[in-house]
Symmetry: C2
Subunit: 301 residues, 2 copies
DNA sequence: TTTTTGTAATCGAATTTATCGATCGAATTT
DNA sequence: AAATTCGATCGATAAATTCGATTACAAAAA
């Protein structure tokens, strides 16, 4: 039988791939750098192949490394699903209606739907994409069981479990004055016009609040209706915009040819979480679903 | 993050499921019974669920145990494929023509094809099902690169790597005189008529040789053309037959309502292996393919 | 150039974990 | 009742993992 790498090694490796740094990955995995370093090395010995190219300054995987990076996530996900399915096993059967806002849905849901099905085969997931306000109404009316939203957002009578922090990135055309910058401070934004989503999208408010922007008039709020059209419009030279990291990491900026620039810490951000109506009896299920989404969110950084 | 069971634990568990015995499984895994026992226990603690029902005398899995037993093989297979794909990585690209005999093909190939594709995505596998003699000719002519055959079989100029031992089982209708027996010795066979595959199938020769049967005349060689029809005919009260274990384990006897009875050790058996033409240059690839098939063969016992 | 900084490899000690053999108790079989 | 089989458990021992400290190296800054 072929000797197998450890799941732990695969976790370390995937963290390494994500963070592109041994020490950062070690931090993420709550182990010392030496531990992670030797774990990777041992895996390389086992497979008899280099996985990471240490010769160049920039982080790079070898072909074998790419191979592992491609396959490992499915293995880890399947094992997590196994653990979930075999353990405590909340009900999580039958219909569950989940609302999601448009600035999250396309970047999380495709993978989440698969994972949820694997973890809870008997779960029938119904999805509804809508703005926060509309989802809150539906939540209150009991039309949906839970909602994947961005915060802060005042929602009385609602319980929330946090998924994580989603920082904003600055995105602009290659011709833009900031295009060559490696980092930006939010104070820099005072100088330039920004395209934002039309009113009603919480992303707009969150961006304005987080970056201390005033509600400035003028073309600054040209108003796109989705992050894809927004990115497209920005590309057409209409200015710059702010995009959530989860969209960046899914390749939104790259796919339309935009330059994406992170902010200096503390980076402005919105919070992502799952909400449900207090006393709806669906809290446990919502938490279980949040757990799966949290996994996906964490591993797509 | 959910704590994960170890691959090792999953391996132990699957071995336990296969062997239906802690000590047998421990033996198979080359560890002591106490080691395996505590590994299973630890996994149960981790998942906070019993996986094996120890209350009854007969081996039984709990629902959670079934869940794990269903999911674990895919995880282990995927990890093995990862290791194979990332390591040494022989060519194994492009076309590869593999011959398989009819008494093996249906019980191994479905899974083998999937695994081979995962392990070697660039491999294009072409299959040909035929009798040993025909495959040997094709091998010699270079029309196929390797063949999955049963042995012994005299094949000059051919190299072989062994996959494993495939014991014969006695299979009969519930009305048969032997139907209630738990075990049989091959000497018992002298008394009864046996249905065998028609001439040309090596399985026929192997069964006769292994069980010290003479070429008796009469209805004893009614002659089926495939194991499925053979099993069907046996079910129709035409007698009893000998089936290879790989077919039994795939449920062939059960699916047609036959009683399957193992032989006392040393059980009569045929050997399974992969053959290729000496000097064909395809030896390494054949070995790699044999490795994958070996996995499947071992885990389907 | 030299210094500084960030990054990864390495070493040795301490700890944790895994493994084994022996033994025990419960359930079956003889 | 005695013998057998099977799995759980215990304590000693061997093996591994882990960490912190240190070293080595390369790029960036002075």
């Amino acid at each position: 039988m072929t000797p197998l790498p450890t799941l732990r090694q695969l976790q370390f490796f995937m963290s390494l791939v994500r963070r592109e740094s041994f020490s950062k990955a070690a931090e993420e995995c709550f182990v010392s750098q030496s531990t992670l370093s030797s774990a990777i090395k041992e895996m390389e010995t086992l497979l008899d192949q280099r996985l990471v190219d240490r010769s160049t300054r920039t982080f790079a995987l070898t072909p074998s490394g790419e191979e592992v990076a491609t396959r490992a996530p499915a293995i880890l996900a399947a094992t997590e699903d196994l653990a979930r399915a075999a353990s405590g096993r909340r009900p999580l059967e039958g219909a569950f209606h989940l609302g999601v806002i448009p600035t999250i849905a396309p970047f999380i849901l495709p993978r989440a739907a698969v994972r949820l099905h694997n973890a809870y085969p008997k779960l029938e997931l119904f999805l509804r994409e809508d703005l926060t306000a509309a989802l809150a109404d539906r939540l209150a009316a009991g039309l949906i069981d839970a909602a994947l939203l961005a915060f802060p957002y005042d929602l009385p009578g609602i319980e929330i479990i946090e998924i994580g922090d989603d920082p904003f990135w600055f995105a602009c055309d290659a011709d833009h004055a900031f295009a060559k910058r490696r980092k930006l401070a939010k104070e820099d934004l005072g100088e330039c016009d920004l395209l934002l989503l039309e009113d009603g999208h919480c992303l707009r408010e969150h961006a304005i609040d987080a970056c201390d922007l005033s509600e400035r008039g003028g073309k600054a709020s040209f108003d796109g209706t989705s992050l894809f059209t927004l990115a497209q419009m920005t590309r057409s030279g209409l200015g710059a915009t702010l995009l959530p990291e989860m969209a960046i990491k899914q390749g939104l900026a790259k796919s339309v040819g935009l330059v994406a620039i992170p902010f200096t810490k503390p980076a402005p951000s919105r919070k992502i979480g799952v909400a449900w109506r207090k006393g709806s009896g669906r809290g446990e299920e919502a938490k279980a679903i949040a757990d799966v989404i949290k996994e996906i969110f964490a591993t797509s950084k």
